[in-house]
Amino acid sequence: MARYDSLLDACGGTPLVGLPRLSPAVPDGAPPVRLWAKLEDRNPTGSIKDRAALFMVRAAEEAGRLRTGDTILEPTSGNTGISLAMVAKLRGYRLVCVMPENVSTERVQLLRMYGAEIIFSPAAGGSNQAVATAKQISAEHPDWVMLYQYGNEANARAHYETTGPELLHDLPTITHFVAGLGTTGTLMGTGRYLREKVEGIQIVAAEPRYGELVYGLRNIDEGYVPELYDASVLSRRFSVGTRDAVLRTRQLVEVEGIFAGFSTGAILHAALAVAHEAVRDGRRADVAFVVCDGGWKYLSTGAYGGTLADAEDALEGQLWA
């Protein structure tokens, strides 16, 4: 289908494309091992988060939590913020994002373009201050609605009802599904659906391993696991460092012409690991993985050019996925 009543109706239904050059070669007579990329950058605002944003807003509407003209407050400056801004605009809500004033200008421009209001917290206070600011705003405006993607079941349900069925329809022979682990919504929803339908399917998580700054907790007990996370849905979980993520992101555009963000590189790294294992074991494999977004928003990092070491330095201390 290529005609839709509105942009919101065009969410999902993304192409699944084969990667004949990146798929590992198998010996003569051995069963095929194939990689498939689910192009989530083809969603309305260019990322997989459109699915979750749309489902979370619809769920809040159905529950009576959101009525036309209401305000959504979300402390995010990334893809979810951009998706929510678009959905809010088309559904008649106001979106307020709280973020530190030192985030990249692309993000600020994108959010403003989609009509979101931004409340900046001082750069010196970091996200710390953004949290305090968001708390304060919440307290002052109890009628504003926080969707909270890390614990919102509609986030995972979006993938149970759309991403999972799309994959099975396009690739009935799927053996592995590989996606990024952030809110965990993609893996929980798609994983549950595919486990119900495909015997023996492997659900594989690729988790970004950031620079040390990002893990600057004072104590282990300050750790955090999203409420949506259920380890029993996963088969395996890989931690992928910045260098490997950058290497694979570049390889994806150089070899297959797919220009993606760095979280996709991390996912491809894990997908290649399971694909090569299948080759070693002489097993057939159809490995589908998620391309979360395009590389446009990350060009200013400079990490698409220069040496891998330069790119690693450029991304040090950033949340690149």
């Binding site: 979300e74 402390p75 995010t76 400056s77 990334g78 893809n79 530190p100 030192n102 985030v103 010196a124 206070g125 970091g126 996200s127 710390n128 201050q129 953004a130 949290v131 968001a134 708390k135 919440s138 307290a139 926080m146 909270y148 890390y150 614990g151 952030g182 809110t183 965990t184 998580a205 988790e207 970004p208 391993r209 950031y210 040390e212 700054l213 990002v214 893990y215 600057g216 907790l217 004072r218 104590n219 282990i220 007990d221 300050e222 750790g223 955090y224 696991v225 999203p226 409420e227 380890a231 996963l234 088969s235 395996r236 979980r237 890989f238 931690s239 992928v240 950033q318 949340l319 996925a321």
Partner: protein, 131 residues
């Protein structure tokens, strides 16, 4: 040849500041016991009184999460690389969202206990481009 173990910043007080230490053991449990003999107290930060891995600790053997490899029974070989990290899935803004919503009263009590984490992680994160 030994097993190389990467220690996160918050646990380096147990290793005299060392980022990487060597250890031996056929399983993760053995390795942690071996490490504790030289870095007293480290094991106690990673394993609960019930004898399982701490909820907010992730351990990876050659970049793969040990919880899917048998947890403390995960098999190890010489030359393996073990990485210990605190659980921060979702990145710093995960904490931000949790902390912000906890004051909103809409979240479960469990979430609000993470409020302190947001402050802790973000105090290091002024240069972090949060998503």
């Amino acid at each position: 040849m030994a097993i190389e173990v990467r220690i996160p910043t918050i646990l380096r007080s147990y290793t005299g500041g060392a980022k990487v230490v060597d250890g031996t053991g056929d399983t993760l449990a053995d390795l942690l016991t071996d490490l504790d003999s030289r870095h007293g107290g480290l094991r106690g930060r990673l394993i609960t009184d019930a004898g399982t891995l701490h909820r907010f600790v992730n351990v990876y053997v050659n970049d793969e999460d040990v919880r899917f490899l048998g947890a403390l029974d995960a098999k190890l070989s010489d030359g393996d690389s073990v990485t210990i990290l605190p659980a921060v899935a979702g990145g710093a803004f995960g904490f931000a969202a949790a902390a912000a919503i906890s004051s909103h009263g809409a979240a479960a009590a469990a979430i609000s206990s993470h409020g302190a984490a947001a402050a802790a992680i973000s105090s290091h994160g002024a240069a972090v481009a949060a998503r």
